[in-house]
Symmetry: C2
Subunit: 294 residues, 2 copies
Amino acid sequence: MTLIENGAGDAIQALKDLYPYTGKAHIIGITGPPGSGKSTLTDQLIRVYRGRGLTVGIVAVDPTSPFTGGAILGDRLRMQRHYLDAGVFIRSMATRGHMGGLARATNDVVDVLDAAGKRVILIETVGVGQDEVEVVKAAHTSVVVMVPGMGDSVQTIKAGIMEIGDLFVVNKADREGADRAVRDIEMALMMNPPGGGWAPRVLRTVATKDEGIADLADAIEAHRRFAEAGDGRARKARERAEHVFTELLRDRLARRALERAGGNGSLDRLLDQVTRRETDPYTAVETVLGKLGL
Amino acid sequence: MTLIENGAGDAIQALKDLYPYTGKAHIIGITGPPGSGKSTLTDQLIRVYRGRGLTVGIVAVDPTSPFTGGAILGDRLRMQRHYLDAGVFIRSMATRGHMGGLARATNDVVDVLDAAGKRVILIETVGVGQDEVEVVKAAHTSVVVMVPGMGDSVQTIKAGIMEIGDLFVVNKADREGADRAVRDIEMALMMNPPGGGWAPRVLRTVATKDEGIADLADAIEAHRRFAEAGDGRARKARERAEHVFTELLRDRLARRALERAGGNGSLDRLLDQVTRRETDPYTAVETVLGKLGL
C-alpha cells in the first residue's frame, strides 16, 4: 500500500492482478466537517460490524493535514484498539504530490482491501474540501456527519452536500440544538430532493456513548439493499468504474505529457517564455498539446 | 470573469490578449482554517491598502461550500462595503466541475485583475484542503491565519503549513492562549526552518478591532521587497508560470483525451469492461494513452 501511495511501478502490476477479485465489498464513505466526531463514529461502526461477523477495511484520508492534527491524531490512536484484530485493517493516507493523486491512491487502496476479502470498507475523510467530495464519489453508500449548532438555518446547508449524502447523521445528538439540526437537514432534503428513488434518512448518534450506531449500521445496510435491487448496483458499479478511470487518466496523462514535452529542455524554454510574458499559458499548453498530437 | 469560471472558449482569447499586461500586481494569498477570521482580516487589509492609495483586487475562493455557508456569507456581505469603491474589485469563486478546475480558474481571474491594473491582489481561501494549498502556490506572499486554542502543541502544526506561510498571523489575539499560539508557531518554524533566506514572522491581529492590520500590511510589504531583491522576484515569477501552466495542462489534457478517446462509443465499451472486471482501470487508461500515442 505504501508502494501504491507513492505511485510505484511495481504496485501497478499488483493492482492489475488483483482487480478481477474486487467488486465484492460494500464501500462506505464517511464525511463531514472537522470536529463532527467522524473518527469516533467510524471506530464504533467497526465494532458493530465486527460484532456482526463482517471483516472491515478502513481508509482514513486526511488531505487537510496542514491545519488539523492533534485531535485527529488522538482519534486515530483510539481506533488502534482494533489493530490486534485480524478482521480489521486500517490505512491512513495523507496528501502527497499533486491534487487528484489522493483520489487515485484512495481508489487503489480500496481495491486492495476489497480483493483481500474485506466485506465492508469505510473511507473516512477528514476535512471539508473538494478532495473529500471526490473520495466519497467512489463509495456505494455515503454518510454525511454533522453536529448540532453548525448551521443556524437551512440556507447554511447547501445543495452540494445534500446531493452527496445517502444518509445524514447528527452526531453529538445529546447536545443542545440536535432537534433543530435534524429539522434543518430534513428541510434541506425537501428543498433539494435527491434523484434515484432513495429517500435519505437523518439519524441521531452519540458516538462517544455508542448511541445510535447499530441503527446507523442498519440504515447503511438498508441503503445497500435498496441500491442492489433493480439496476442500482449495476449503475453504481459503472459510476465507480468511470470515476476511478477518470482520476487515473488525469494523473497519468499529465505525467506522460510532461515527460514527452520536456525533452531536450523544450518545456523549460516554453516556461521561460511564459515567465517573460512572450507567450501566454493558454498558447503554451496548446503548443504542448499540438506536439503530442492532441 | 463568469466566462472564465465556466471555461468558455471566448474567455481564452481574452486571456491570451491580456496576458502581456500581467505581472505587475503583488499577489497575496490568505489562508487558514474556517473561523479564523480571514474574511474580516481581508476586509481590513483592503481598507489599509486603499488608505495607502493602492487599488485592490480580491478573489474569494470557496471550494468548501458544502459545509460552510452562513458565517462566510455574512463575512462576504461585510466586505461589500467596498463595492462602491472603484479601486476595489471583489470576485467570489466556488468550486465547479472537477478538481484542478478551481485552481486554473483562480489563476485566470488573478490575471484579469492584474492586467486591469490592480496593484494588490488578495486571494482569500475558505477552508483547509489541498485546493487551498494549490491556490496559495500562485501567490507572491502567503499569509497563514490561525487563532488561539487551535493547536494545543507544536506537533499539531504540521510541516505542510509551515512550508506554505511567508507570514503567520494569530488573529483574535485578544483571546486567551494567544501567547501560546505565537510561541507554538515560532517553535514549529524553528523545527521546520524554511529555505530561501526569508525568516517568516508571526504577527498578532484582532481584525474585528482593526488591531495589527497596518503592521501586517507592512510585513507583507517587507516580504515583497525581500522577494524582489536578488533573484527572488524572477524565481517566483517562474514558479508561478510553471504552476499556472501545469494546472492548465492537466485541465486541458483530460478534456481533450476524453473527447478523442470517446469517439464512436469506444470509451463507453472500455468502461463497461472495467465495470465487469474484464479489464482493470490501469490497463484501460494505458489503452487510451496508447490510442492517443502517448
